[in-house]
Amino acid sequence: MQAYIVRRLLALAPTLFFASLIVFISMRLIPGDVIDLMLAQNDIATGQDRAKIEAALGLDQPVYLQYFRWIGGVLQGDLGVSLWRNVPVADQLWATLPITFELGFLALIVALTVALPIGVYSAMRQDTAGDYVARSFSLLMLAVPGFWLGTLVMVFPSVWWRWAPELEYTPFFEDPLKNLAHMIVPAILLGLSMSAVTMRMTRTMMLEVLRQDYIRTARAKGVGEALLVARHALRNGLIPVVTLIGLQAPLLIGGAVIFEQIFVVPGMGLLLLEAVFQRDYPVVSGVFLVVGVGVLLINLAVDVSYGWLDPKVRHQ
């Protein structure tokens, strides 16, 4: 298993390399560059200033050289410095990553606690009223865009009950309760939007599994319904669901960008959004690097959990 994980990690290197290349290049393709923005902000617009700033930021060199300088730095643990704030990118990432991680983690817990029981229930009670309600709810969650839902939660409770979600961030270790009071609303919304697909998948897979011969064998042994689900069906049904959760990881990060902005959570999503608007290339590249590593690690975790769920994989 350990050898397997090491091999997988090594296999990540080329993937990461290409991902970084794509991010680096695509950033330069966005119209308007950082110098224009800086000049516009500072009301100075002479060609000389431009060249000076470009040289100072290292942007006068060809893009491929810039890339190699950047990747060379990354390999030595140096992610560069923000073009606007003169703060090392790594510091900004270290400050924001745990916050986004917390949001994502809470959202995942919400998604699973909603999706798994309802998905299983829906499958066990196929075509009953409860099943229809659950399926309609998941369709609704699929159809409603996150930002719209977020806005609703911001606006309506405050109009109706004079209650608004907490918008002030408190670090978890300073005051966990206050921190959770702020994070819980975006986490629930993000989790719910994730739960829709997961719930449908859980239902489909459970229906599939419940049709299998070995479920009939278990019934023929006298296994009752609760044990049938818990021991005989769930693990088989979860194998594809876990893959789905892995596939949803990038969506989770995309959702984090939206909800961090609406609920003013100072995480990586907010950092990324700001950096993109400001064309702060090193910050954008840094965030994507972390996202890339994160997604790949999640997929690695998914692979490892297969081994636990599916003995066939374990013995390969």
């Binding site: 299998q212 011969d213 009939r216 064998t217 042994k221 006298g222």
Partner: protein
């Protein structure tokens, strides 16, 4: 007279609601199995053998419905039992072995766990004791290095080995009745005989009754005490195995037998095909279901369904309008 049979099915009718309409999979089936006896059910694919078997343990699922009949096991009417009570019987006093050893074991649970499970459920044994007993059972079904294989998963075993595991599982609580639904159809011909011998030997040792569902007339001759021949959801002939082979009385049975080289022929000889197709169970003809394929068909057959009646010797019943003498003559002609 006979003591009360262990299992007494009377007038069982089962139907399935499908898009094609109501499929009458089993019609008015009556069967008795005495303690320790082996009853074979034979018939073509789709004749209702599995549905009959699944009805006993009420494992038909949502689509299937028992429309009529009683299934009395050891004095209890299984169809009238509460869910909890039928679960207590499943795997304990009645066990079932299925056709597909490849898909009938749970791929994510160890075979030790799967064999131990009924013991844990019905004997309330601690897992440790149940596992120990599972080890003994795997040894009894002659799995090499049984104790060392308790932690194996089904995919690590061959088809024959898996079917041994299924047999061990079925024997776990020493059931009074084992229902084996084509236990060897999916296996290699060479393994089939071994598995059947094992099944027969172990059921005899445990003094369990056995319902052996099969396509294979060689198997019937070798292992069964009694035989029930099913066609299109009904029993068309039933008799002690010897009597059936000595004097098959229904044209369908005769058709089946005519093309086996010899009764004690090789195991693995499938039911020979008879010209034509069985009728659509959603659109059964008004008279005899075999009429379209029967070489002896006459008017009455097309109008009135024949009832099961004594055919010569005691305990030999058939459902056919043809009178006994003519039937005998017809056999003479054909051979």
């Amino acid at each position: 007279m006979d003591p009360a049979p262990l299992l007494d099915i009377s007038g069982l009718c089962v139907s399935f609601r499908t898009d094609r309409g109501l499929v009458r999979a089993v019609q008015d089936v009556s069967l008795q199995v005495r303690a320790g006896e082996t009853l074979a059910i034979v018939g073509e694919s789709g004749s209702g053998k599995s549905v009959t078997a699944l009805s006993i343990l009420r494992l038909l699922g949502e689509a299937g419905r028992v429309d009529a009949g009683r299934i009395v096991f050891d004095g209890e009417d299984l169809l009238a039992l509460e869910d909890r009570a039928i679960r207590a019987i499943r795997g304990d006093r009645i066990a079932m072995i299925f056709q597909e050893p490849m898909s009938s074991l749970n791929p994510v649970l160890t075979i030790g766990m799967q064999v131990a499970e009924p013991i844990r459920l019905h004997r309330n044994a601690p897992w440790k004791d149940a596992y120990e007993r599972a080890g003994e059972l795997l040894e009894r079904v002659r799995i090499p290095d049984a104790a060392g294989r308790l932690g194996d998963y089904p995919h690590q075993l061959s088809g024959g080995m898996r079917q041994r595991v299924m047999i061990a599982m079925a024997l776990a609580c020493r059931p009074r009745l084992i229902i084996a639904d084509e236990p060897t159809t999916a296996l290699d011909v060479t393994v089939q005989a071994q598995i059947l011998e094992l099944l027969k030997e172990l059921t005899r040792q445990a003094n369990s009754a056995l319902i052996l569902i099969t396509h294979d007339l060689g198997v019937v001759a070798r292992y069964a005490d009694r035989v029930a021949v099913m066609y299109a959801g009904s029993i068309v002939e039933t008799a002690p195995a010897r009597a059936l082979y000595a004097a098959p009385a229904h044209p369908y049975t005769r058709g089946l037998m005519a093309s086996i080289p010899s009764i004690d022929g090789a195991i693995g000889a499938r039911l020979p095909t008879i010209d034509g197709q069985p009728p659509d169970l959603a659109r059964l003809p008004p008279g005899c279901a075999f009429a379209l394929r029967c070489p002896h068909v006459f008017e009455t057959c097309r109008a009135t369904p024949p009832a099961l009646m004594e055919a010569g010797t005691a305990g030999h019943l058939r459902a056919c309008h043809l009178d006994a003498d003519a039937a005998g003559a017809a056999v003479q002609e054909r051979t």
